[in-house]
């Protein structure tokens, strides 16, 4: 179980709780604004981009190549960036704070 806090683009804070699945799915179920998850979590769309706050990036687990590649050329990405459909919910990430990134469109 993990409690996760999202900060939306309009600076609202929402804390939600999940047991399993991806952080994107959790955000979507709770209607966190700005987390679209358009590809359904298959790492194809980058509409679930977040910035991991408080220097806790390493707690979010490993990044795959596709995720890295999608972020590398994203105008709003930096070293705190993750696609949250690729973060699994577990005790490990309890207390994490994630800021919804700016929308990237082509």
């Amino acid at each position: 179980m993990a409690k996760i806090t999202f900060i939306t683009r309009d600076n609202q804070t929402i804390t939600v709780e999940g047991e399993s699945g991806s952080v994107m799915a959790l955000a979507r179920q709770n209607g966190v604004k700005g987390i679209e998850g358009e590809c359904g979590g298959v790492c194809s769309c980058a509409t679930c981009h977040v910035h991991v706050q408080n220097g806790e990036f390493s707690r979010t687990g490993q990044q795959g190549t596709i995720e890295k590649d999608l972020l590398e050329l994203n105008d709003h990405a930096d070293e705190t960036s993750r696609l949250c459909c690729q973060i699994r919910i577990s005790d490990e990430i309890d207390g994490l704070v994630l800021r919804v990134a700016e929308k990237n469109s082509f």
Partner: protein, 414 residues
């Protein structure tokens, strides 16, 4: 604009309609929002229907567009299992399947499309013929497959949905044959090199693809025979038809909206009737970048058009101007596409080195990059999108040379 006492009706509660409803609230629409759909299920994403939801790896519950509480919270009235049967643009009213009349101030058509059933002898009466558009369709296919004797499945049509369905049914232990009328799969949407790759991939996985196959008849029950015009015939417990869609335009016709194989909309999703907007798969719009009218079937297009319409309804003057993007997952292969390749006269194939197949196809019209299809190579997809948008001149020779590292500096024309 004062919107408090006003009503916005949205017909079609899927990707486009739901996106629009929630965006209306974000844009400040204070009045009523009524959202209708014939489908009784809580609105969901369709892409998993041919992918992980068909294989059963994922439950559709995880792919609902929004949880029910959020409709309540945003005060969006969801009318599921309700068909809008008539539209009177003059009196600004619609009639529902239960005969109620409802008036609107603004109307959004998000009616999407339905599977096209080709004129094949016996197709209407055959017992085990399926399409794949709704959650019920996917459940029906899974159920029929479980019950079938030999799990022999014939899929008519080698487009994305046909191929994804083939891969998923293969995973479920089905014996799959895909019959494609053209000389290659994905003919309308990709270059020959991409078709070849997918034909080989499916062959390797044991899915049987036959091209130049024009199906003319289906008969037999319960074991069906699918017969082609060259005399060949294929046994099938299940037949799945995936040969494209018909746009749902019946209501648009009643309102006398301008149409051209889709409802014509301007850059803000307005139709030619004041107060009526249209979004998603059912529309055709002018894409400013390619300077051409297009009808696009994708989640991205439906979601974004929903947001544009919402902004326009709330008094803004937005312009829809993005490069379309799309993806497809088959087996462990990830295909990502950006741009519109139509009208290309040259392709450059860039293969990456390494164990997993990873390559990209770059579509050019002379020196202008139009589109990129990337297989297991998200970097090409992202960089391609940038180059297209910025009209960057790409050095084609260097692009094709995988001895050079894949990075902007190596690809841009000096």
């Amino acid at each position: 604009m004062e919107t408090e006492n006003r009503t916005c009706i949205i017909i079609g509660a899927s990707q486009a309609g739901v996106s629009c409803a929630f965006a209306l609230r974000e844009e400040g629409w204070a009045g009523r929002i009524l959202l209708y759909d014939t489908d009784p299920k809580l609105p969901y994403y369709r892409p998993p229907l041919s992918k992980t939801a068909l294989t059963g790896e994922e439950l559709m519950y995880n792919h609902i567009l929004k949880p029910l509480e959020l409709y309540r919270k945003e005060n969006i009235q969801l009318g599921l299992g309700i068909k809008v049967v008539a539209l009177d643009a003059l009196n600004k009213e619609v009639i529902l399947s239960d005969h109620t009349q409802v008036n609107y101030d603004r109307l959004v058509l998000a009616t999407g499309a339905r599977p096209f059933i080709p004129n094949i002898e016996g197709i209407q009466t055959a017992a085990q013929v399926f399409v794949l558009r709704t959650q019920q369709d996917a459940e029906a296919i899974r159920h029929a497959l479980e019950k079938s004797m030999d799990k022999e499945v014939v899929i008519i049509g080698g487009g994305y949905i046909g191929l994804e369905t083939a891969a998923s049914i293969k995973k479920l232990g089905g014996k799959v044959t895909v019959l494609e009328r053209e000389k290659r799969v994905l003919e309308r949407v990709t270059a020959p090199e991409m078709s070849e790759f997918f034909m080989a991939l499916h062959a390797e996985q044991g899915v049987h693809i036959e091209v130049n196959k024009n199906v003319v008849a289906i008969h037999g029950n319960p074991k069906q025979m699918v017969v082609c015009d060259d005399g060949s015939a294929y046994r099938a417990d299940l037949v799945i038809v995936g040969v494209g869609v018909l746009v749902n335009t019946e209501l648009a016709e009643q309102a006398k909206l301008n149409m051209d194989r889709g409802i014509l909309v301007d850059a803000s999703m307005r139709t030619n009737q004041e107060h009526i907007y249209a979004i998603g798969d059912c529309t055709r719009h002018h894409n400013p970048f390619y300077d051409r009218f297009v009808r696009i079937e994708s989640v991205q297009n439906a979601t974004d058009q929903g947001k544009i319409a919402a902004a326009a309804i709330c008094g803004k003057n937005p312009t829809y101007d993005v490069l379309p993007w799309f993806w497809s997952d088959q087996y462990d292969v990830k295909l990502q596409m950006v741009g519109l390749s139509e009208g290309y006269n040259q392709v450059v194939v860039r293969k990456e080195t390494g164990d997993t197949p990873s390559f990209s196809i770059w579509y050019f019209d002379q020196d202008q990059l139009l589109a990129v299809d990337a297989v297991n190579h998200a970097k090409a997809y992202m960089l391609g999108a940038k180059f297209i948008r910025q009209k960057t001149r790409v050095d084609k020779t260097k692009l094709a040379d995988n001895g050079l590292e894949f990075k902007p500096a190596n690809l841009v024309m000096a």
